[in-house]
Amino acid sequence: MKVELRDPNVIMKLSRLGSFHQSKLSFLRSFLSEFKDWDYKRDVFNLDKDGFGVAVYSFKKKERVYSLVCFANKINDDDRSDRVIATKWDAAFTLHDGVPDIKDIERLKNEVPKQEVGRLSYKELTLSRANKSVRMFNHVVESLSNGSQPNLELLEKVGYLYRTTAVYGSGKFGLADRFRIKNREEINGPFRLEMMLVYLVRQFTFDQVNHVAKSKNPKKAVKLDPKICKNLGIGNSTGLGMAPFIVNHPTLLNNWIFCRETALKKIREIKIVKIQDSELFKSCVRNSIKNITSWNTESEYQLKKINHLLRDVRKFLDFVENKFSFETDYPFNKIYLWLEKEACEECIEYIVSIMMEPFGEITEPLIKKMSSDEEKYFNIPTNRTAGNLKSIIEAKYKNILEIDFEKQTNFKKFWFISKNKEEPRLADRFEEQGSELEQPLAIARDIKKLYNKLLSTKKTLRIDKFLNENSDLRHVVRRAFIIEKFPYSEIQDNTISENIVPIDMLRLKLSFFGALKFDPRSDKWLRICMFQGAPLPNELGDYDEQWVYKSHS
């Protein structure tokens, strides 16, 4: 039986993309899988009694070494902020390519804590900073120093000791460009080094909290139980900075979604599912309910989504355990069709993610296809005709063409880059100044404009001639020829409408990172947790691949 890939016009809608969840394809999981046989080491740990100082952690295999250099600094409570406007953080980190020497450490000590206003070199691969969850950190220090383990209920609510507020890579602030490292086999997957940084930061937070507790009360202090460590991750606060990325990297976006869709298609095409595979699937769904019920958020929007998800996952579990037999042919196809009919978008995508769990042989080869050589598709095929272009738009942007951009509500918002922090922002075109400096992120509106222009253009006119007179549409002409080859390269929605929920764009990206516990703090930023339940570095040699569904908090 041949199953078709799902329709981009459905899947690439923002509400659907904002319902995606982590899966076996997620970058933090593929990072763990790739680095499981590397040697992990804590090379330097020079912290004072309060936990301030320098630490270095590394992953090594043969001649290749990646070193996380950590700088923990004292800051005032007033300076601690998750917002991008902050200038001081509890800790700052960089992933160094190789083993840093003393000179490197001295150089980095001056630059890394400055973050965006510091300068890194081609020897550094990623950059980040993080703030303590002060309440959590102090509680853990207090408990450990008194010889007891912390309150699990409190830990469960938060899920981490530190929150990162940005993770930079690919040439930002002088960091190494992607071209320098792209041929390394171990990083043949998107954001792998960013994931490594976050993973090692997690270990630093455990080591630091143990160190501070021990310094406080050397005789009585105990170490944080590794089982508790395992159930702690790293928090992350994410704002709009992430949103333009998925618009600005169309072929990369396509490859992420295409791999997910291909995995689903292949799973639906499996005629006979082995009993151990169906049991693994069911146990992951069952265990995951504990995860859903542990998500804490005050956001009404997210609470509603979680409640719907929980209701539908329970309904699904009842169906799959009591009313469904895996002994039928193509069971996952039948399950998928049931979901389409009976479950909300969030639940459909949630179960689609879990369907991948038993099928490493399907997901493994796809992970290697999730990067993109974007340069290859940059040139516009100018020997094509206006007629070709019009046909592509009609076929690929069907729903976009139905949007009426004469209506103010459909172009109420605009994206811009703030002068203060050079970060993307979203504002009301009719109430705020600056829309004349709008960023080219209103793809739906510009595609519609291009289409309207093509309606009055001779079909046989070549694109080079069309561009001569329509330079303002060049960026969308390029995109239309990209989507012809890459069906999932475009968000099939209006990114400047009055009703846009920008966190849908963030959630899409974060789900591919492997984030858990989406906790929107507004429609423009959210908190998440990464690596919660993941094996600790010393357990990487042999770990349970379904760890994500087995965390206790």
Partner: protein, 203 residues
């Protein structure tokens, strides 16, 4: 040191700020990234060109012909470059084309480099006694090393080089003969057993 990613982003934004469309700004940014990657002073010249544009006008060329002469003002290297890139399949047929007065000719180079890749031919770009060989967008070789790029090139020639060998038949033969010394003379038994297919395949 600035990364190529920073160079590309800043060039794109600066080009947009100069009034180019976002699509053209993207082309400029790719070009400046390419120049800096090849070790050529892209940022320096783009910066100077944008400063000059505040006080001077330049001619925008939309259609590239075999011989191109601006009416009065020098050609803008960016609009000329974008037109060249867009029309490359047509221009290729000229085999050679000439231009008079191109401002900041270095900014025209990346468009030629990318054009070379699109048509799969090397391009030779010459002005005065300076030569640049554009090799399929893989590299740019030149006799113009460590000199200051002019703000205007007066007479420019672009030649489309045929894909042909750079060596003589004799030179090839000699080398090939030498390479044969790595081959094993086939005996009858090797002929029978060392190859995959049969000696006759008439079935």
């Amino acid at each position: 040191m600035k990364s190529l990613s920073e160079i590309e982003t800043t060039s794109k934004r600066a080009s947009r700020a100069m009034g180019f469309s976002w699509g053209v700004a993207e082309e400029v940014a790719k070009g400046i990234r390419l120049l800096e990657f090849f070790g050529l002073p892209g940022i320096k010249n783009l910066n100077q060109y944008y400063k000059d544009r505040d006080n001077r006008n330049y001619e925008n060329s939309k259609i590239i012909k075999k011989n191109n002469k601006p009416n009065k003002l020098p050609y803008c290297p960016i609009t000329l470059g974008v037109s060249f890139l867009d029309q490359i399949k047509k221009i290729e047929k000229f085999k050679k084309c000439t231009f008079q007065k191109i401002a900041y000719p270095i900014l025209f180079l990346p468009f030629l480099s990318r054009s070379s890749e699109i048509i799969g031919k090397k391009l030779l770009f010459q002005f005065d006694k300076n030569e640049f060989l554009l090799n399929f967008n893989v590299n740019i070789s030149s006799n113009f090393i460590r000199k200051k790029f002019p703000s205007i090139a007066k007479k420019i020639e672009v030649n489309f080089l045929d894909n042909k060998d750079s060596f003589t038949g004799t030179e090839w033969k000699n080398l090939y003969k030498l390479s044969e010394d790595t081959f094993v003379e086939e005996t009858d038994s090797l002929k029978q057993g060392a190859a995959g297919a049969g000696l006759t395949d008439n079935d």
